[in-house]
Amino acid sequence: MKDRYRHEMDLRRPRQEKLDELYEMMEGGTEMKHAKRLSGRAAAILVCAALAITAAAAAAVPAVWEKLWEQLGAFAPYAQTIDGAVCRDQGIEVQVLSALSDDLEARFYLAVRDMEGDRLNEYLTLEGRIENGKEQEAEPGRQTSGLSPLGMSSTRFDLLSYDPEGKTALFSTSIDFWKDAEPTRDAHLSLTGMTTQKGYLYGGASCASVTGRILESLPVEEQDQANQKIDHVSSLGYTEADLPGLKVVLAAEQNPMPMEGTEDMWISSMGFADDGRFHIRLGFAEGVAAGSDGDSLRGFFSDLFLSGSTDKRQYAHQITPVPGGLDILFPLIKLEDLELLQDCQARFYGDYTRPGTEVQGAWNIDFQLEYHPSVTLDWTGVLAGRQVRRVTVSPLSVTMYSNDVGGFHRAVLYAVKKDGSTVAAEPDTGSYSNINWETDGEPVWDTYNTWKFEAPVDLEELACLTLMDQTIPVH
């Protein structure tokens, strides 16, 4: 039964467009992150503090500040300017510039500046962690959203810009609190290294130009065969008998073409080799190698993507290192499959190393976070047929606790100001759970929704909230 179940499950895959959406989100995709991130956290000093940038800071890294205000947009007056959160090691200065925060999310902005050389560039990545917040206990009989053991820190730093004149990079990072945690005053940034040697490839090329012509092929050396990597061949139900007996790679530069999104790599040759199977040979610029940590294959993958097809042959591939690049063999795509390739995209993804500089050091910064605390509205009741038991609002976001079973999560919420103008808030991530799920009883839904304002809302000016044409009074 186990084998049958495994086999049946192997045939089940998410739709390709959903996978593509996910990969885009994870690898290149900052769209989702941007949509989700511009809000922040808590409290006190903010409002105009952000505009009171010190002259010294502005003079030191003006382009970075300019970029920061551009990023913050209408939220700039609600961002906290953090003074003195700076340290230097290895001739590189790290400074936490600003935070935009309420008790749902904290976003931090930091600058990294080379004070002694020109070691940084637009490939800069940071190693380290930013920490803030403390866990909140779930209300009696309720559940947390499940993030609590995982949150309150972030190791992901997104490069927003690099200014070659100021030799300064601007990064952002964020921590989500949701209903599981809450921000605290004390925040800590700890960086242990940075490098410009790390690249991430998410490139592709159309296979439409492939013809049935057999391209010049070269035998694979025995030692290279040992390095071959096979992904998803046996796991897809195929055996060694399905693989070509002849071990060859394509010769270089037979039909070169650029690869979208990078100049570090290109398609050197693409087509059918002497083994009758489809190959793609990648060429690498000088100093470029696939994979991380000098391992030429680790973390580097390839696939063929045939839109709308679940033909699993497209996922099988072998990678062989060749001088100045890689040969990728798709062992299950044969000459008779030429027509299939006309609608195919080859994609290459994963870590690679490139010429650059790596700097190890210790940059530790303690600083104080100030955030916009939310207020709980003095209202509970029935809204569009749902029982709402709690609503909180901050200048940046709204949260709602209810027994909604679907609908709120797609509805735009509006803040109506006393002057009659409105500010929209798009629904953001929330959760719902049947808190009675382990019994045989009727489901009891505990729902948590969040919305983030497209522009900040001064709570003093707030008249009411509206959701699904219903009004939530604000007193």
Binding site: M9, R13, P14, A35, G146, S433
Partner: protein, 163 residues
């Protein structure tokens, strides 16, 4: 600097189908399983945990997938209007695959343990850690689930299959 098991993109490439399949085993619905898949990796990006090894990363992803599938997160792009009814049969039966169909017909609390046991090859202790239950509870659920599967498949196959 970062191993591939600490690189969200590489983890998505490698484990998205596994996360999807676990969610599918729990929900029986392609759209829900895809939503759970998205949510799991969104959490990965947001939480940015540091993994010691690829096994650690896989265990984390399966644990979060199990949580998400049980406590189905609602996403901005989510299409579903109604929540999962926990004790109802899974809403979308597979076109093929009698064992999968039988797993989806199990009470909800048995589906994830049996999937982890059969498909992911996890031990009882690993399943216990993944779903946050005791080993005794997992053993009991696996025992009952296998009995139910045995009965169901016997009925369907009239004694043709061995379990």
């Amino acid at each position: 600097m970062r191993e591939r098991w600490n690189e969200p993109g590489a983890l998505a490439r490698r484990y998205a189908p596994a996360v999807y399949r676990l969610a599918y085993a729990r929900t029986g619905c392609q759209a829900d399983a895809e939503d759970v898949m998205q949510e799991v990796f969104l959490r990965l990006v947001k939480a940015a945990p540091v993994f010691d090894s690829e096994d650690h990363a896989r265990a984390w992803l399966l644990r979060v997938a199990s949580n998400c599938a049980n406590d189905l997160f609602r996403l901005p792009w989510r299409r579903r209007e109604a929540p999962l009814a926990d004790d109802l049969p899974a809403p979308e039966a597979p076109e093929t695959g009698s064992v999968t169909k039988a797993v989806l017909a199990l009470p909800a609390r048995y589906r994830i343990p049996i999937h982890l046991y059969y498909y992911e090859d996890l031990s009882v202790a690993e399943i216990a850690r993944t779903i946050g239950k005791s080993e005794g509870t997992v053993k009991s659920r696996l025992f009952r689930a296998r009995n139910l599967l045995r009965e169901r498949l016997r009925e369907e196959e009239q004694g043709e299959g061995q379990i």
